[in-house]
């Protein structure tokens, strides 16, 4: 069978500064895509998957194809001239990029950007210069025929009310809608292959589910091949016919999706599957991948994964590994039968004797005695953590939120402020929540629901408009109004360590910053920094490095160390692993779990990823439009939700589940649209416009957050029909009585 798109032994180098070795970004990748097929290309950052994808449309800058072939429909692309490339990009090979907030041009309306693709398609060779410039300058798409085509496309990708939105600019759309616009631009070309580079990574799980579903439907309708690139194997697996797993620029395994998932042969594939939180028992340690992530500087010969592989043998380092067939159309680049045949669990339970501390160290890492010691301890703590759901009401809360409200100004104009005529946009609306010592509360919801604002309120980075934040019983204001002791009680870790660490300071200086503010003497500071570095499993020399010399996971460790500097009793974590690869996420989650147990921390874990929350949290609080809609014990809430919103969130999780959500209300399409604007929340139940089971009553009556079922001890839900959902669910767990802390949470 003739492949539609064939990549054969592709080698891409990154140009680098004179003198240094060029980085081998892609090092002999081969795979193919048949007509109408969806192929998933999976790998972590640095695996070369994106470079490979971009090379197909010859956008490999700043890379350079040094060897190999890319053939589309029999035509060779590596040597194609500009004109051919324009034709192919405009008509055959469409691309969707990862981050829709940067891939749409901010100064042109979405209508114009879609229309441009239509115009290019109709005549890729002409593209009159001045006509295009003038069309761009207009803020309205004028051509009637084009307009209706654009509207059709917007409809196809699921943008509601396209006629009202066609002349809007990208910044007026939410992330999910922007990605739909990108998709429309891609479809405008009626391509035979759609290359989607991490199309949903920057999005919520709900939006992700909707977009992926849309892709699958389009593939079906239009018989369009799709190359779907992702770092999360489970996300793409559902959609794909075949998978290609890349590691350090090479393809390590490829095969039909079912076979590959049930029988992963390459140790890396196994590790990749193993370290997903959704595949582990909640509260246990996640299996991690040892050794440093690929950085393109591996030795010439031998297996790219050898440094991190627990099955590695002598010749793995020196000789090229054969590509072995392990099933129909299923090949793996590993020459060690034991490694190929080991089970997922076997691979995970074959711990590398090397310390985890070097797990993210870059090539230059040296041994660190301090970290070793700590790590030995860390690795010993493998057992299942005792969940704190025995008697959660026992401890006195450290942090309490009392009917906290926070609203922001709609506009910044001076006159608006003077006259007080500005609109207030509520971000958090009447939230009460308590956090007890040693307890982890997971706070979940879509972007824009106010969960980050809530975290900032606890941290004191925002002050409540109404209500109070109490720390050990005392109402506290913003950071400036807090005493030194109060400030020391709460540590904060943000999503992007890159932006929260000062690039011009060394790691040591960054960690010492809170200590200086608290007035610690220099020698004492030094000791503490050393102590903290070992606490987060980083070698001591890292104190002198700069953030840019660290990997994402290492930076996050530094951020955690800084948050712990003043021995807080509370840790506020705002999406701490959202920007990390799955294997790095696993090591960070393990580290956090250890720290929490060791130091008895109370944690507020903000995340949009329910799988992660399920793994780490004792209790979950679900937020929608600034309000809590459901609070309850993690296990119970995430297996038998009492609010349709929680159920829909659960339904949108990727991957095959052993235990699909038992409620009848789960409906993936429900959250396809955007949440309503917080300025103008719907009357009645705020969720009713998107609720799959809403009734007439829901439009009128606003449900309070109430205990469901067992008097004051059950989970609490803000749904009129909560008791019904609890009955509809599976048999309630036997320990239902020891459930939720009651009255003090609202």
């Amino acid at each position: 069978m003739n492949a539609l798109l064939e990549i054969d032994d592709l080698h891409v180098r990154f140009r680098s500064r004179a003198g240094s070795e060029p980085v081998r970004a892609v090092d002999g990748a081969s795979f193919r895509i048949e007509p109408g097929e969806i192929v998933g290309l999976v790998g972590e950052s640095g695996s070369g998957k994106s470079v490979t994808a971009r090379s197909i449309v010859r956008l490999e800058e700043p890379g350079e194809i040094v060897d190999g072939n890319i053939r589309f429909d029999g035509r060779e692309l590596t040597t194609a001239d500009d004109r051919t490339l324009r034709r192919l990009r405009g008509r055959e090979l469409a691309t969707v990029f990862q981050d829709p907030s940067t891939s749409l041009n901010p100064v042109y309306t979405v209508g114009e950007q879609i229309a441009e693709a239509l115009r290019v398609r109709s005549d890729p060779d002409r593209q009159p210069f001045f006509r295009e410039l003038i069309l761009g300058a207009s803020s309205r798409l004028r051509s009637r025929a084009l307009r209706s085509d654009v509207l059709d496309l917007m409809e196809t990708v699921g943008i509601p009310r396209p006629a009202e939105r066609i002349d809007d600019y990208p910044h007026q759309f939410s992330g999910g809608m922007r990605q739909r616009v990108m998709l429309a631009i891609a479809l405008a070309r009626r391509p035979s292959v759609l290359i989607a580079d991490e199309p949903t990574t920057a999005l919520d799980t709900t939006t992700q589910a909707a977009i992926l579903e849309r892709l699958a439907a389009l593939n079906e309708e239009r018989e369009m091949s799709v190359l779907l690139i992702s770092h999360d194997l489970d996300v793409v697996a559902e959609l794909c016919d075949r998978l290609v797993v890349m590691y350090d620029g090479t393809v390590v395994e490829r095969g039909p999706v079912d076979d590959l998932r049930s029988n992963p042969a390459h140790p890396y594939t196994k590790a990749l599957l193993g370290c997903l939180p959704r595949r582990s028992k909640p509260g246990t340690r996640l299996p991690t991948i040892d050794g440093s992530p690929s950085d393109g500087s591996r030795p010439q010969n031998g297996c790219a994964f050898a440094d991190r592989c627990s099955f590695a043998r002598e010749d793995c380092y020196s000789t090229a590994q054969p590509t072995v067939s392990v099933g129909e159309d299923h090949t793996v680049a590993c020459g060690v039968p034991d490694a190929r045949e080991s089970t997922l669990e076997g691979a995970a339970a074959n711990p590398n004797p090397e310390p985890e501390s070097t797990s993210e160290a870059t090539g230059t890492a040296t041994t660190a005695d301090t970290a070793l010691a700590v790590d030995g301890g860390a690795d010993a703590r493998t057992g299942e953590r005792v969940r704190r759901d025995d008697d959660p009401t026992a401890g006195t809360p450290i942090v309490e939120l009392e009917a906290v409200e926070k609203s922001f100004r709609g506009s910044d104009a001076l006159l608006d402020r003077l006259f007080g005529t500005d609109e207030r946009v509520p971000a958090v609306d009447g939230v009460s929540l308590a956090l007890r010592p040693g307890e982890t509360v997971g706070l979940v919801g879509e972007s824009g629901c106010g969960k980050s604002t809530l975290a900032r309120l606890i941290a004191g980075l925002e002050e409540p408009t109404v209500g109070a934040v109490r720390l050990r019983g005392t109402a506290v204001g913003g950071v400036d109004a807090r005493t030194d002791d109060q400030r020391a009680e709460i540590g904060v870790v943000f999503q992007h360590p890159g932006t929260s660490l000062d690039p011009k300071r060394t790691v040591g200086e960054s960690i010492a910053e809170p200590l200086i503010e608290a007035g610690w003497a220099a020698t004492r500071r030094e000791d503490r920094v050393a102590e903290l570095l070992s606490l987060v499993d980083l070698p001591l020399e890292y104190a002198d490095r700069f953030p840019r010399q660290l990997s994402g996971g290492q930076r996050q460790r530094v951020a955690i160390a800084r948050a712990l500097a003043l021995e807080p009793s509370v840790l506020v974590l705002d999406e701490p692993t959202a920007a990390l690869d799955v294997s790095t996420q696993a090591t960070i989650l393990n580290l956090l779990a250890d720290l929490r147990d060791e130091l008895g921390l109370a944690c507020l874990f903000v995340s949009h990823d329910l799988d992660v929350v399920r793994h780490v949290a004792d209790r979950v609080a679900v937020m929608y439009l600034g309000r809590l809609v459901e609070v309850g014990r993690t296990e119970r809430t995430l297996s038998n939700p009492t609010h349709p919103y929680t159920a829909t969130l659960l339904a949108s999780l990727p991957g095959d589940r052993d235990d699909p959500v038992p409620t009848a209300v789960a409906d993936r399409d429900a959250l396809a649209g955007d949440p309503p604007s917080p300025t103008d929340p719907p009357a009645g139940c705020a969720f009713h416009p998107r609720c799959p089971v809403a009734t007439e009553e829901c439009r009128r009556r606003e449900p309070p957050l109430e205990s469901v079922g067992d008097g004051t001890l059950g989970p609490r839900s803000r749904c009129l029909y909560a008791p019904e959902w609890i009955e509809a669910g599976a048999d309630p767990p036997s320990d239902v009585d020891a459930s939720d802390p009651g009255p003090d949470d609202e």
């Binding site: 956008l59 990009r89 691309t95 990029f97 901010p106 441009e116 593209q127 761009g136 939410s174 006159l415």
Partner: protein, 317 residues
């Protein structure tokens, strides 16, 4: 919308009031009694005490400062900026007479600068780190460091005296305008070239530029349609600010080319201690500066839809 407009006018008025106060104050504080100077000039001999007193009374110098300021301000608002001590002509009509020449020069210089700088900056950025880029960079450096008057004399020397293609001095025709505009525009062009280059380099790295390429858009349109418009946003501010400096530069250039204009008017007035004219010129310049900045804000809105328009509740946190 109307409120925004009012706010804008309000801030404009506040700025102008401050400027007028400072101008008036400074001029009144400068040493040297204008009554003396002017009368001596007129009579070619030291004036008598009585004559000086009469002159002071006539021009209101006896009043306290604040009273003088407010009466001057009141008149100014009505368009009456007083009478020149020296030429006995209303300042307003002198300004009206000289302003167009200066404005013409400033606009021409800005146009020259933009026409040269924008393409040069774009080409430098597109051919980043090649000989084209380096040549452009050196040219920009030379342009920035060359003093106006020196370039002016150089141009006169070459074009007017040697080649005889342009007149040496004066104003009125297009050929009179060419050399002054080039003189004045060069420095500005150099600044803008660098700015466009830096801005373009940054924008060309943006994902939406790659996305445009991936659509099959041809390279020339990728650069000029997708990248340039984004790159121009920061440039507009600088052009606005530069326009103010161009008015300053016009003073020197007008003197070099002996072009009648605000510059020559101002210089003459300063030497003659003709306060009303000095005040008038400064006020008009400041006004032009403020108005330009408002226009820059408008240009922003046109270039970048994220500003002002739309807004409210779209950008989810």
């Amino acid at each position: 919308m109307i409120r925004a407009l009012l706010a804008r006018l309000g801030s404009l008025a506040a700025v102008m009031a401050t400027v007028s106060f400072v101008t008036f104050g400074f001029v009144s504080l400068t040493p040297g009694d204008p009554a003396h100077t002017i009368l001596r000039e007129q009579r070619q001999s030291p004036p008598s005490e009585r004559e000086v007193a009469a002159f002071r009374a006539e021009h209101g110098f006896d009043e306290p400062f604040v009273v003088r300021y407010f009466s001057w301000l009141g008149d100014a608002v009505r368009g009456d900026l007083g009478t020149s001590y020296y030429q006995s002509e209303p300042v307003t009509s002198l300004l009206v007479e000289h302003l167009p020449n200066t404005l013409e020069l400033a606009l021409a210089a800005t146009a020259v600068a933009l026409v040269v700088a924008v393409p040069l900056g774009v080409v430098s950025a597109v051919h980043h780190e090649t000989w084209i880029d380096r040549t452009g960079q050196i040219a920009a450096l030379v342009g920035v460091s060359m003093p106006n008057f020196w370039l002016g004399y150089l141009l006169i020397l070459v074009c007017s005296l040697r080649l005889g293609v342009t007149p040496v001095s004066g104003a009125g025709t297009l050929s009179h305008l060419v050399l002054p505009a080039i003189t004045l525009g060069t420095g500005m062009a150099a600044v803008i070239t660098r700015l466009v280059r830096t801005s373009m380099l940054e924008v060309l790295e943006a994902e939406y530029v790659t996305a445009a390429r991936s659509k099959g858009v041809r390279e020339r349109l990728v650069v000029y349609k997708h990248a340039l418009r984004n790159a121009l946003v920061p440039v507009v501010t600088i052009v606005g600010l530069q326009f103010g400096f161009v008015l300053n530069g016009a003073v020197v250039v007008e003197v070099v080319f002996q072009r009648p204009g605000l510059g020559t008017l101002l210089v003459d007035a300063i030497f003659a201690r003709d306060y009303p004219i000095v005040q008038g010129v400064v006020l008009v310049t400041a006004f032009a500066f403020v108005v330009t900045n408002q226009l820059v804000d408008l240009a922003y809105v046109a270039l970048d839809p994220r500003i002002e328009r739309g807004g409210g509740g779209d950008d989810r946190r």
